[in-house]
Symmetry: C3
Subunit: 344 residues, 3 copies
């Protein structure tokens, strides 16, 4: 692909400073850029790289201007309000230029059962199986090896990249993305203990996913026990996340990889959950709650804010000493109290 600062400025709603017609053929970070690259400066930490980058053009924030000549090695700048947003917008435009348009129709190796409704402007890829009653809407793209269960619904423009399992009765809205290995609608984990055995509780609910939701590779969202598991609009889930049955995730919340959310937890809107965090079941997080990576949330959180709980790592010997002492901590507190009584 070949473009120019001028064209890029139009895409990201910016203005050009310097040569508007320089030939640009790749996007790159400041450190990896070549003279044909468009790059961007968003994190102020990397500002010094402006002086050394080989990039032909850099997207920068209005607020970093003016740049003295020695502060910027690039031949031209595209100046915007928010360079990180501009980078996102440009990446989308770039991908749209480079990637082949999605085809329409049904690959001859796909198995579409009678009674499935596939829009003529959708694509069903190689070796997919689409069961009876399933609906695949206009512009939806189902990549190779996906399974669409009975009565499941894929909204318009939604993409299932490959090897996704969308089980019976589960629905995803428009413009969603499901990455490879995603499982939507496996049974929730429900058993009644009886006589030393686990009696299965059939999971009669489904999963309802809103619009503009992205779900990362090998992430699982379980179907509800009686009512549905619900993922609201604009939620973004990374890879290898477990969402238990009857969880409800509010609009615009995002979770990093390896998070586990146990059954019937309710997550508010605009929450973020760091990688590897665990959220126990049957509790609630208010809107705008931010959970740090690897934190274990053991009770409901009613106030917005950042919450954390991680054992600080250390070299092994130091950790061992402190960890061993930790097992005497309650007793240490008592000893401290004794001393305080003696020395008021």
């Amino acid at each position: 692909m070949l473009t120019t600062p001028q064209s890029i400025a139009a895409v990201v709603n910016g203005r050009v400073q310097g040569d508007p017609l320089r030939a640009l053929s790749s996007m790159a970070t400041l450190s990896a850029a070549t003279p044909e690259s468009i790059s961007f400066l968003s994190n102020p930490r990397y500002r010094a790289q402006l002086t050394t980058t080989r990039a032909g053009c850099v997207i920068v924030a209005e607020r970093v201007l003016p740049l003295a000549p020695h502060e910027c090695a690039a031949a031209s700048l595209v100046v915007v309000a928010d360079p990180y947003l501009a980078y996102a917008q440009l990446s989308q435009w770039w991908a749209a230029q480079c990637r082949p348009p999605a085809p329409c129709g049904v690959h001859p190796s796909a198995q579409v059962e009678e009674g499935a409704h596939v829009h003529p402007k959708a694509w069903i890829g190689p070796l997919c199986h689409v069961a009876a009653g399933a609906v695949v809407a206009e512009g939806a793209v189902i990549g190779p090896h996906c399974v669409i269960g009975a009565d499941a619904v894929v909204g318009a423009q939604t993409r299932l990249s490959a090897s996704v399992a969308l089980m019976s009765g589960c629905r995803i809205g428009e413009r969603g993305i499901l990455h490879p290995g995603v499982v939507i609608g496996a049974d929730g984990f429900g058993f009644a203990p009886h006589d030393g055995q686990w009696v299965k509780i059939e999971q009669l609910g489904a999963v309802r996913i809103g619009n503009d939701v992205e779900v990362g590779a090998n992430t699982c969202i379980d179907r509800g026990a009686l009512e549905d598991t619900v993922i609201e609009d604009g939620v973004k889930l990374d890879n290898l996340i477990q969402i238990g049955h009857n969880v409800h995730i509010g609009r615009g919340s995002a979770m990093a990889g390896c998070v586990g959310v146990a059954g019937s937890a309710t997550i508010g809107q605009r929450c973020t959950v760091g990688g590897g965090a665990i959220i126990l079941g049957h509790l609630s997080l208010a809107d705008d709650v931010h959970i740090s990576a690897a934190t274990v949330v053991t009770r409901s959180i009613t106030k917005p804010g950042q919450y954390s709980g991680v054992f600080p790592f250390d070299d092994n010997a130091a950790w061992e000493k402190n960890a061993a002492t930790l097992r005497q901590l309650h007793q240490m507190r008592d000893r401290l109290r004794q001393l305080e009584k003696k020395l008021p």
Copy 2:
């Protein structure tokens, strides 16, 4: 579907109080029920919902009777010894009524190699691959996109829902359920270090799974190095669990999502492991050991009981202070001792 309190009472071994012939067409929680719903009260915490529920019929425990009229809004009750068990039983009956019976035979798109043994009353779904020597027993249901390796065995009435990989030589017993993305029998993680390289130890064992075992979506159970990895009867595993090679899990144990069990660990009978817990390798858990969510088990446990080890979460500022101090804990203990010496 349409049923009545009378029919439900027969399913769950209860007795009706109130109208036995009321028309019921859905199962629901107390809070979401409509007048056509059958619901249940199991957790005493929700008892107040009995007064406001719109449910036409509620399953309750003998011990909550008698209910004054103002305490119960439902037109009829089904009274049982254990309402949660009754709910499980009813859910199974309900699912059996609603779901189409499993078909028999082989979908034309499935690839069943010569030398595979598929019972005429089993079902091999679309786009499955069944290798030579594999056995699929009577009533087994293999959903779309499953892979059954050479000489693998699927017991009677066992269901592989979709996209399951049961690798060569691995066996699962009767009435089991494997959810989408489950991998049974990938290689265990074994290498001999040599000259700065990892020399692979071929994994010559397999996986042996008993009867009535359920395995959640994208969970992995590795094949053994020399002997088999063993999962006994009645074990229930949730999603995204890792079971290392040569692990042995005793009868009736259950694990929640995101648990990791390292190689050669031995888990007793009737154990439970909370979500996100990690159990290190080459150690043993006695029968009836219960591990709290996100706990890291670093040594064997010989006595039944509940075990925990989680850093308590807090607002970020408070956590930071305490976590920083934690790195001085051992030294604090020494300072405390000094004071105690001075002030005996």
Copy 3:
């Protein structure tokens, strides 16, 4: 299979002591061995088992010799420098004898698109999809249900066991192994926040994997945002691991199951990461850093060594007391200081 101590000695570069021609037909641990078994003693902890094992032949280290007759029940020994390495070598030889040779060609049910390059001595298994521009080199074995995206590359002798997704443009070198459910090249998790929404950053990089790399079941390695995610030669990853976009893992590093590595982390050479550990993004681990299981790495590590950070588990009551006290730890330190001032 039938072999002898003599043949085994040739495989593992050892020398026989005792009967060189005894018939051996299985590999087993010392405790499970039968008189037809070859076994090995590597961990000194198990030395006592030498006196009771039923194994017909045992691989032992030169340094344990001489063994008095009562110390060893086996009819013959194969003496080597490193018995664990010998076991690995023997396991490879054993597997090579027992397993059918990989076929060549394309299974009739596989979908190989026009413009894909499959070496005539490679194998494309049942129900695979290979997209245009993909390259599958000599001796590569693609098991059932794999997806090879456009322009992806599979190096010589590399095996994708089953249900692997190697997405467009991603490359793996020679002699690699990808276990079932592995996803290489799903989108990294990148969004620019804007007006309460997440604007997707298209992930324009790919994944580059070196030679002799093994990736465990259901592990995910995300494609880079602009540059590639890189896994160097000889890296070994266990199951259910998440590798974020633009991570770089140095040669010969190994990670156990359920590890999460966030985006843009750089892991040195010969590092090891224990199961369930979390490594935050944008940080670096030096060469020869060893992270204990379940440790959360929150900042860069510049010196080789072992690092840990796990809350020690305890019986639940003891843990509860200590965990509650932990929330007052910073305050306890202040109280301790007060006492020290009073009692200098």
